[in-house]
Symmetry: C2
Subunit: 414 residues, 2 copies
């Protein structure tokens, strides 16, 4: 076979880089390192036309001298204006900015479509895991029933450590910060907001419908107690912060919440700071992808993949095909943790309350401690509203020694 590159224009592609932080610097390095490979793959060399940072560079000048813009400056303003200006000027854009897409996706996709240029963002969700490309291209015309995953590495690291060592949340978070797995201000990660932005993007792509960050409900892991994880082990469950976007009765549901997975679940084995995403649909079945969800070089590598795809040729720009409503109340199984006075009739009363709300119990672990007992159960699937009502009623039972605690449970078979 010949070694020559495929035919293509020979002038170098001028790339304008916005931002040179951790990822920007790694991208610059990678671009130099893989320049030959880019030329071999696309028939064109690549050059940095200019870099915009807080201290150097002029956006208009960089835009004028660039054929393609790579946005790695983060934030939503003035980033949004820059990306819109680039698209309107006919420049394809590659970004790793999840908040920008989750909050202003509709506007940005419309601008790209109008200008007839690509807007690529593989690195915005799960870094190097090619989930965006897979949903947009491999399954771009397939019927997707559900997309779910572990899309935040910080929280998965924390939960993995808590489960492995029985250590409390605060202690493990502090360690994660020491190791650089968690930021000085980890709130966006641990409260689920980061994962929510990523799920808004995946839901939009999977269901071809506008999804804004404000339509994604999310809970974090701050309230998880080590003994929840201990009981869960007895029940064969592992705890993950799960993002899930799925079709529900004519609409979609997009949520982020901590939940227990049974051993058979494809995401159950995902440990530490890794990310993983599963896509399910009637025709293709189920595909799961896992890998490092962060890291400067990993993210830069995903960015370069997008740059090369743009130089090599066209790919579809997201198009809205439907405007699906968001369904709020969906069925789920739950882990329920009750501290009760160890007196006759308590279990019966609890069972009655659950029965009255059509909540049926799948498995129970009872544990006496002095005059107290802990009752830990896993329910079958029921509407969340029903379960919430049942929990409300249980809280009224006088023998209850503490507020009921509950966590979602996902079946491996699902």
């Amino acid at each position: 076979m010949s070694e020559e590159a495929p035919p293509g224009k020979s002038a170098p592609v001028q790339i304008g880089l916005l931002g040179r932080g951790n990822v920007g610097a790694a991208f610059e390095e990678l671009l130099a390192e893989r320049g030959e490979a880019v030329a071999a793959a696309t028939g064109r060399r690549v050059e940095l036309a200019g870099v915009l940072t807080r201290s150097e560079g002029d956006f208009e000048q960089i835009l004028a001298g660039s054929e393609l813009i790579v946005e790695l400056m983060g934030g939503t303003e003035p980033t949004r204006e820059y990306v819109l200006a680039a698209l309107r000027a006919g420049r394809p854009v590659v970004t790793a900015n999840k908040q920008l897409l989750a909050q202003h996706g509709a506007e940005l996709f419309a601008a790209a479509r109008e200008a007839g240029v690509q807007l690529r963002f593989e690195a915005a969700v799960a870094a190097v895991i090619p989930i965006v490309r897979t949903i947009q291209e491999s399954f771009g015309v397939a019927e997707v029933a559900r997309v779910f995953g572990i899309v935040n590495g910080t929280t998965n690291f924390i939960l993995t450590e808590m489960a492995a060592r029985g250590a409390p949340y605060d202690e493990v978070l502090a360690e994660a910060q020491r190791l650089g797995y968690a930021e000085a201000d980890p709130s966006e990660d641990v409260n689920g907001a980061d994962a929510a932005a990523k799920m808004a993007i995946l839901a939009r792509l999977a269901f071809h419908t506008p999804v804004g960050l404000d339509q994604v409900s999310f809970e974090g892991i701050e309230a998880i107690a080590p003994d929840d994880l201990a009981y869960a082990k007895e029940l064969g469950l592992s705890l993950k912060l799960l993002g899930i976007a799925e079709r529900r009765s004519g609409g979609i549901s997009v949520r982020v919440f901590p939940c227990f997975l049974y051993g058979g679940h494809p995401l159950a084995p995902i440990q530490g700071s890794f990310n993983a995403v599963t896509v399910q649909g009637p025709a293709f079945g189920e595909v799961t992808m896992s890998g490092p969800g962060a890291g400067g070089m990993q993210t830069a590598s995903a960015v370069l993949g997008d740059v090369v795809s743009i130089i090599a040729g066209e790919a579809p720009v997201h198009v809205t095909r439907a405007e699906l409503p968001i369904v709020a109340d969906v069925p789920s199984a739950f882990y329920l943790h009750l501290e009760v006075a160890d007196q006759p009739g308590v279990l019966a009363r609890i069972a009655t309350v659950l029965g009255d709300h059509d909540v049926s119990v799948k498995s129970v672990v009872q544990r006496g401690s002095g005059d107290e007992a802990r009752l830990v159960m896993v329910t079958h699937e029921c509407l969340e509203s029903r379960f919430a009502a049942a929990v409300g009623a249980l809280a009224e039972i006088p023998e209850l020694r503490a507020a009921p605690r509950y966590i979602h449970v996902i079946e491996g078979a699902e």
Copy 2:
């Protein structure tokens, strides 16, 4: 956001379908079912221009009336001539034919490049798992160090059942045939030839070098005994038929062999007929993808993904960038099973033989049974040639009651 499709020619894309077996029929069904989605994604409708089967259709006529050819007839002749004719006539081709690509890839890629048309084949490896797209596009310019995976569902189903029930190979194979997981003639699957063809394709793409089926060494699972799996459990190992393509001292090594994986290995949890592939490289780290590796509708779904990508726009055609030599002798750890007379000094003699060949032992399980003993050990990594020589020497030890048995072992950390 607007609901209109992106701009594009409005005449339907005429598709010529070669073959209407299990996958071909599913593709026809899917094409009808997802026609609207294809139009929305690409701006063009799709129509079947004609179908070629043993009993109906004329190739020249179908080619003349088609804009794109989908090859699902299988086999290498006359399929090869048809695909070459289509490419030379300027028609992009989508195929699911692994043998065709593994045996005639060089010729076919050259023809596609010459004609400047796409040749896509996502469905040829691991069906719906987007491994071809990921290696060619996401990691098209990245440095790939290693690609390995479980790319044959029949053998993984058999090994999973053998491990779960301790049943012998023949019994489980018969069951797999009853359930339709194995063909009436399963030899290509169980002897590793099917996996070898897939690894030849992945190696070519990952390393941008010509790799022919004849350059892939392969072993099957026919000789696996249930007690190997029993001992392996004690050592925390699970058995898989692994395909591995990796850079080795200036060249590459492409092989298929049964091997044990430690629990931490990304492929250890892959059960039943599922496939999974891991790609590793210095910049992106490691990405693992898993899903159903076969099935008519799953395979057709991957084919449709390729068809849509072609209609939507261009993507790179494989280009050779180097001609890497195949490295035959590579290091590996091994599981070694010895049946010996239970006499003093035997272990010492065995240890001496291993030591003389620089084979060091990592863990040992000894089990006495009457006047016999079974010695099962896992070694550290050593060159396969060294290990083979050691096994040869061990076979000479008079106290040995049976020929030594051995199986590759892969570290999770690797």
